[in-house]
Symmetry: C2
């Protein structure tokens, strides 16, 4: 993904007079996007490591996890600092609260990418799973696109695009269920492959959870821009609330 450029779009947020406050909000947004790019790369690398049995790449994904954790903690600190010193209200408050929620989701996606990479290392050691690699690649592409798109929606405060990402999560869930059926069939045909099949299932489940977290980020964006809490709400209801 190319380096993202952005300008803080305050059309939907409240105006405030402090220039340095503006800069702080911009820094937070920038750093969320930067953390997002690292996690995007983690997904791509984790999937490639399992599909191509690339141990070095898997180790890289595991190693980068510390960096993601440090980013989460530092960004959280920054958000608390701005909350304490600036005492923001309305849209600015929502921006900071959304940022803290989004970085939590990003950190969880990083954790799940690490799990995929660890399964890649296990499979490289114990021998290939009886199948599921094509499914890992396909689900990996889906969730990578979701994360890329939802970060872009955050950058541009685009609720329509955020809604599209929330919708896409259903596709990931369907793919996961279908992949599970395929792998259970392999296990029944060859019980000796069960342990290795369980590793690929762990990887698929991790990808499915990345989809959930991307949807969660989409919901935070809708909250940020519209002030609507759309958790626990069906896509149809969200669309109707957004007038779409």
């Amino acid at each position: 993904m190319a380096q993202k450029e952005y300008t803080v779009d305050n059309t939907n947020l409240d105006k405030h007079i402090s220039q340095s406050f503006n800069e702080e909000l911009e820094t937070i947004k920038n750093q969320v996007l930067a953390m997002g790019e690292v996690v995007e790369q983690q997904i791509a690398d984790a999937v490639e490591s399992i599909v191509n049995v690339d141990k070095e790449l898997a180790k890289k994904v595991v190693a980068i996890e510390d960096d993601v954790n440090v980013r989460e903690v530092r960004l959280d600190e920054l958000c608390v600092e701005v909350l304490a010193c600036r005492q923001p209200a309305a849209g600015d408050l929502r921006m900071i609260l959304s940022a803290t929620n989004i970085i939590r989701d990003l950190e969880h996606i990083g954790d799940e990418a690490e799990k995929v990479a660890k399964m890649s290392l296990t499979l490289a050691k114990k021998g290939a799973a009886p199948g599921g690699y094509e499914e890992v690649r396909h689900m990996g592409e889906l969730v990578h696109t979701m994360l890329n798109s939802v970060l872009d929606a955050f950058n541009r405060l685009d609720v329509t695009q955020a809604l599209a990402v929330a919708k896409a999560d259903k596709k990931v869930d369907r793919e996961f269920k279908s992949a599970m059926r395929v792998i259970v069939t392999y296990m029944m045909e060859d019980p000796r492959s069960i342990k290795r099949a369980m590793n690929i299932i762990t990887a698929l489940r991790a990808l499915e959870r990345m989809g959930n977290h991307s949807r969660s980020i989409a919901e935070h964006i809708i909250y940020l821009v519209k002030g609507l809490d759309v958790r626990h709400t069906s896509i149809k209801e969200i669309a109707s609330k957004l007038g779409q």
Copy 2:
């Protein structure tokens, strides 16, 4: 669990002059504890429903999930309102931020309890799994105790007890791994049981995640009381930071 009583203990928090602000903080704390009790009951009921093949109890757990979601959204609204109107600093700010994080973890635990209840319904319909019920009961007891204890630690702002809960999560992880080994053996012995075994694995994994979320709540309590961010930190390091 008996109804919890508490008084807001501000010895570690900053003093503030507004009586009604105090009451708002007390309301938030009270409502977090009340939500926690509902979720505790969800865990106990979900585990019992799977062990005793009790479909009615499983349906109750699924039905109560809406209530938990509503509590999460309302409590979050209240926290944002207090943040916006009171513009709290230091310990008060940490109390509100911790509360928003804790209710998120509680909601996730409720989600996982719902998953266990759904697996209970599936197994009631498709026939028993080849094993794993004792493991569900045992892990269920562990995570129920963890949640009960961490809510009590939140009530009393007790970091020592929070640390003990964080430690207990390791035990849950070990139990999960051991349960997985047992069930994989069953699957290899009787491949026809694989689908049903996968359902009990889903339940066990849900319990394992409840342990993670309880540990996460413990970390938020340490942040609340001590101002220390102890995520991504080993138990040994946390204990050392707390001088324990």
